[in-house]
């Protein structure tokens, strides 16, 4: 599979739609665990990304699409997820050099770098009930499979691993971020960030499946 800047743009625009659909759910999760704004923040952020993408229609470098998306997300939202997802997008972009066409291997390093970027900024680890509970299993699964499995199949497995991770956050006690002060009261609700992270990777899978 070959993906170019235009593909990435279309993928990101699908995320914009997906977040818009799910924003109330994301905020609802955050009302239970935090300050209730996660859906609002994701929506503001991806709307800013969308606006940025419209300015970049002629852009050829995938890196520029990704790092611009990250920066406009960050500048629009701040918040906790701003630095996290922005670091992901920026690291993902930087991993691609000046490429205009991504091979399967590039797509692999885009996403492992994305997770590396988030992880680097985060300070959290698996089990802390955060975004990383989705992203680390996703990345580890990607690493465990190889090119020979076929790109869609690889992502399908990885997204499944991310999904389990996301679902497991329901029974976790939060260790980081706003919800960490709830102690046991944080158990019983899925982590909003883990849920939005799942939307991001799941939408990527659907997108490449549709190609």
């Amino acid at each position: 599979m070959n993906l170019n800047a235009d593909h990435l743009t279309r993928y990101l625009k699908t995320v914009v739609e997906k977040i818009e659909e799910e924003k109330n759910y994301l905020s609802e999760l955050d009302r239970k665990l935090g300050d209730g704004d996660h859906g609002v923040t994701m929506s503001i952020g991806f709307n800013a990304v969308n606006k940025k993408l419209d300015e970049l229609t002629d852009e050829k470098k995938v890196k520029t699409v990704l790092t611009s998306a990250g920066m406009s997300f960050l500048d629009a939202v701040g918040s906790s997820v701003g630095p996290l997802y922005a670091s992901g997008f920026i690291k993902a972009g930087n991993a691609l050099g000046d490429k205009e066409e991504l091979t399967d291997e590039d797509i692999f390093s885009l996403w492992t770098s994305f997770v590396d970027g988030v992880e680097h900024r985060s300070g959290a680890k698996v089990g802390d009930k955060t975004i990383l509970d989705t992203l680390i299993p996703f990345r580890e699964s990607l690493k465990e499979t190889s090119d020979s499995d076929g790109i869609v199949e690889r992502f399908s497995k990885a997204v499944k691993a991310g999904k389990s991770g996301m679902e497991e956050t329901e029974n976790m006690q939060s260790n980081i971020g706003r919800s960490s002060r709830l102690g046991e009261r944080s158990i019983g609700t899925k982590d909003p960030g883990a849920t939005s992270a799942y939307l991001i990777i799941q939408t990527f899978l659907s997108y490449i499946e549709s190609l």
Partner: protein
């Protein structure tokens, strides 16, 4: 949810616009529209004080720009840390060669965004140091104090660190004061009724008619537990017990802040204060200064918090230092 707003997506922008027009002689907005700085020329070589965090806490943070408090504010979305770029712009605007101190509450988002901004400022050759507030005793056990969040106690940190900068302390001195104030400060609150984010229109939490949330965070985060609504005296007793347990006070005097979260009548705040004063006076502790009112709010949330800061002579002098901000003036 009933609000006097226009498009919910524009509340922060429109609030800032109104704020800057209302206090045009005191504050101005930088081009990015999220950096607000004092119009008064900062004294050369004065350490810059930058405060900030999400919106929805008005009069915090932008109300505290002025002589004796902050030189600039970076304004985030509602309950969301500002991103690095307006923090950086504010930093550049207020640095007078003596460096800038960032004062903000200990929240994951703020730590990351202010941290990134500090790195960027460093790359531009501006010395930035940060001091975080973590006064909420309900937010983690004492042995994990580094996990605690900042609530209304931030006001005292702004007050003393702002005064220190105004008095010519150097950057390390200002940080020392901010940290000392934070170390000497404990707060705890209760929530009686939720606030509503303009964009979701949903209540931030749900409580029965006879319940309150003990240890509530300043963004509607759940606290320790839901308990039956107590009288003002019972609430003050409960909060004060947890606060005073951690403050080993010998002969020191204290500063008291009874802070309303948004929709609590001042009547109730003064009734709470009445009991706080009784408790301290029974313990033989003297109140050096009292503050009662809406200092750091959560939109229209119902409830209040109590903050006690133990004062040494240096902090007393700084607490007494005059302030002239749109939201708070002290002679």
């Amino acid at each position: 949810m009933k609000k006097l707003i226009n498009n919910p997506d524009n509340v922060v922008e429109e609030m800032i616009e109104g704020y800057v027009k209302a206090h045009a002689s005191s504050v101005k907005m930088l081009e990015n529209k999220r950096s607000i700085v004092s119009t008064k020329p900062t004294i050369e070589n004065k350490v810059g004080i930058l405060i900030g965090g999400g919106s929805g806490h008005e009069p915090a943070f932008l109300g505290y720009i002025g002589e004796g408090m902050a030189d600039g504010v970076a304004v985030g979305n509602i309950f969301a840390s500002p991103p690095p770029s307006p923090i950086l712009e504010t930093t550049k605007a207020i640095d007078k060669g003596a460096g800038v101190v960032y004062l903000y509450g200990n929240y994951a988002g703020d730590v990351m965004n202010f941290g990134m901004a500090a790195d960027l400022a460093d790359m531009e050759g501006i010395t930035v140091k940060s001091a975080l507030t973590s006064d909420d005793v309900a937010s983690a056990p004492l042995d994990e104090k580094e996990k605690r969040r900042g609530i209304a106690g931030e006001f005292f940190v702004f007050k003393t660190a702002g005064a220190a900068a105004d008095k010519g302390y150097d950057i390390d001195g200002v940080v020392r004061i901010a940290e000392l104030t934070n170390d000497n400060t404990r707060s705890m609150g209760v929530g009686l009724s939720p606030c509503y984010l303009p964009q979701t229109g949903e209540p931030s939490f749900e409580l029965e008619d006879d319940e309150m949330e003990l240890g509530l965070g300043h963004h509607g985060e759940p606290g320790i537990k839901k308990v039956p609504l107590g009288t003002a005296d019972e609430v003050a007793d409960e909060l004060m017990t947890r606060i005073m347990d951690e403050l080993a006070i010998e002969d020191e005097e204290v500063a008291v802040l009874v802070n309303g979260l948004g929709s609590t009548p001042q009547m109730d705040l003064y009734i709470l204060f009445r009991r706080v004063e009784q408790i301290l006076s029974e313990k033989g502790i003297k109140i050096y200064r009292s503050y009662v009112g809406d200092y750091i709010t959560s939109l229209e949330m119902g409830g209040a918090s109590i903050t006690i800061t133990k004062l040494n002579d240096e902090l007393k002098e700084l607490i007494d230092h005059p302030v002239d901000c749109p939201a708070f003036t002290q002679k």
